[in-house]
């Protein structure tokens, strides 16, 4: 589905990502794990066409997407949920979902998708006319995911979905991510919450100061002594 090869990205004069390569196979959940400042968000910004990479090749569904503008990527089926407040606070829940289906790809099936989203998150249907800025943290996360689903993604990219959420909301968000994969959507998620991510991911990469230092299936990583020491505090 997605393949990144030798990605190098700089933030202004400061190079943050050094030769990062990873893959997201079809119908899988892949995690990129790492602490603050490891270059996770920068990697995603390059992926989404928001930062031009210095070098490297990104292919999506077998075609190169390096240099393709952000809004075109959404239409191709790669939808990213940025970290925190991914929704439009000044708009109602209904308007957020409506604009979620903005692309030509999503528009013709908008009504069916909306029914589907409301069936996954019935709470959103109740809050339909409320402005997104007044939602609780958990509801806003549901809306962010619901809005992304409205775009009919084939690959959903999440930037730290657990950030700033209560533990119980994090659990339900991760359940929702599993549910989304079972509907045939591949998932790439960037996380600091290593333990929970390894529970749902098929494969994960460990990113440290802009380089991939380890990768493997979730079971392999969870039993790797270095990973256990550094990230799982076991």
């Amino acid at each position: 589905m997605l393949a990144v090869e030798g990605l190098e990205v700089a933030y202004g004069d400061l190079q943050v990502v050094w030769g990062v390569s990873f893959q997201v196979p079809e119908n899988s959940i892949v995690g990129i794990l790492g602490s603050n400042g490891a270059g996770k968000t920068t990697t995603l910004m390059a992926l989404a066409g928001l930062l031009p990479p210095l070098a490297g090749e990104i292919t999506f569904k077998g075609e190169s997407i390096t240099g393709v503008p952000t809004h075109r990527l959404v239409d191709l089926g790669m939808v990213m949920i940025p970290e925190e407040r991914a929704t439009f606070a000044t708009m109602s829940v209904a308007d957020n979902l409506e604009i979620g289906a903005y692309t030509p790809r999503a528009r013709p099936v908008k009504d069916e998708t909306l029914d589907e989203v409301y069936s996954i998150f019935p709470r959103l249907a109740e809050r339909r006319s409320q402005s997104a800025g007044t939602l609780s943290g958990g509801e806003r996360q549901m809306l962010a995911i619901g809005k992304a689903l409205m775009a009919r993604p084939e690959l959903l990219v999440l930037d730290e979905p657990s950030l700033g959420l209560a533990p119980i909301v994090v659990e339900s968000t991760f359940e929702a991510i599993k549910d989304i994969r079972s509907r045939g959507v591949s998932v790439l998620m960037v996380e600091q919450h290593v333990e929970l991510t390894l529970e749902i991911a098929d494969h994960a990469y460990i990113l440290e100061i802009g380089r991939i230092v380890a990768d493997g299936t979730s079971a392999e990583l969870a039993s790797d002594s270095r990973v256990r020491e550094a990230y799982l505090s076991l």
Binding site: A48, V74, V79, P82, M91, I99, K147, A151
Partner: protein, 293 residues
């Protein structure tokens, strides 16, 4: 005295409608592109001349030429975006404001000089057969063309608000105004939204100019004065509500008119600015703005 106050109040509200109409386009460009276009008044001036020449050269009624003026200025706005403001929108928000101020101030000088060169510095007014007609309501006399200008302002406000709230493009505009990165991640072609929004902003300036050359007067130097009024109105209203901008415009017009009666004509703008400062110290987000922007 009552008659004078009533008459002034009505004239003030009508002028205020024009302030609101001018501010509408300025607020759209600022809210969406984060570009502060101080040449907005010069676009208005061009719209005024377009309407004036359509009338004096070809005898086109100013109401008939209104849609044409909108389209011409819309296209001119798109052109300005493509050759100037597109480059400003590459910066972050803070630098966009600074750079757009410099660029648009240059544009003020260029457009004014060109207008003097091609249209001469004379003040022009459109006078049609019905220009001097008026309606009398009680003791108040309302000139028809100024009332028409006000009606145009109301229609423009309602139309813009409807477009923003109920169309697909409007939702894209609101999304872009709130956060362009998130809008792009939603699939919105942000550059296209910028271009069309700037075109609409210029088109609205054109309509305002047409109504001003009709109910008031147009000359190459009128721009900056209207831009300043519009800036005051935008700050007074706060971003977020188009209706709020029209109301704030009427508030400013009314304040000026009443100040002219009670304090004296020479002080109308001073009094209006003092009232503006008082409002700002109690409600820095403006009448209708959201508390946190």
């Amino acid at each position: 005295m009552t008659q004078l106050i009533l008459q002034s109040a009505v004239s003030g509200l009508l002028v205020g409608g024009m302030y609101g109409l001018v501010a509408l386009g300025l607020a759209l460009a600022f809210g969406v592109l984060k570009v502060l276009n101080v040449a907005h008044g010069e676009l208005l001036m061009l719209g005024g001349y377009a309407s004036f020449f359509a009338f004096s050269l070809w005898g086109v009624d100013p109401f008939l030429s209104l849609p044409i003026v909108f389209v011409v200025l819309f296209l001119f706005g798109v052109l300005l975006y493509q050759v100037l403001f597109k480059y400003v929108t590459r910066f972050d928000i803070e630098n966009r404001i600074k750079n757009s101020l410099l660029i648009s101030f240059g544009l003020v000088l260029v457009l004014q000089a060109l207008a003097v060169r091609f249209f001469t510095a004379d003040e022009r007014t459109i006078s049609t057969s019905y220009s001097s007609e008026a309606i009398t309501v009680g003791v108040v006399r309302i000139p028809v063309i100024r009332l028409a200008g006000f009606v145009v302002a109301v229609i423009a406000t309602v139309a813009l608000e409807w477009m923003l709230n109920h169309t697909r493009f409007g939702r894209a505009v609101r999304a872009t105004a709130e956060d362009w990165t998130r809008a792009a991640l939603t699939g919105v072609d942000v550059k296209w939204v910028y271009m069309i929004a700037f075109g609409i902003s210029a088109g609205l300036a054109g309509i305002a100019g047409a109504m001003i050359s009709f109910g008031y007067a147009v000359s190459p130097s009128i721009g900056l004065g209207w831009t300043l009024k519009a800036l005051i109105v935008v700050v007074l209203a706060g971003l977020g509500s188009m209706r709020g901008i029209l109301i704030a415009g009427m508030f400013l017009g009314l304040t000026e008119a009443l100040a002219a009666v009670w304090v004296g004509g020479a002080y109308r703008e001073v009094v209006a600015l003092v009232v503006f400062l008082i409002v700002m110290s109690f409600r820095p987000q403006g009448f209708f703005g959201r508390a946190r922007v």
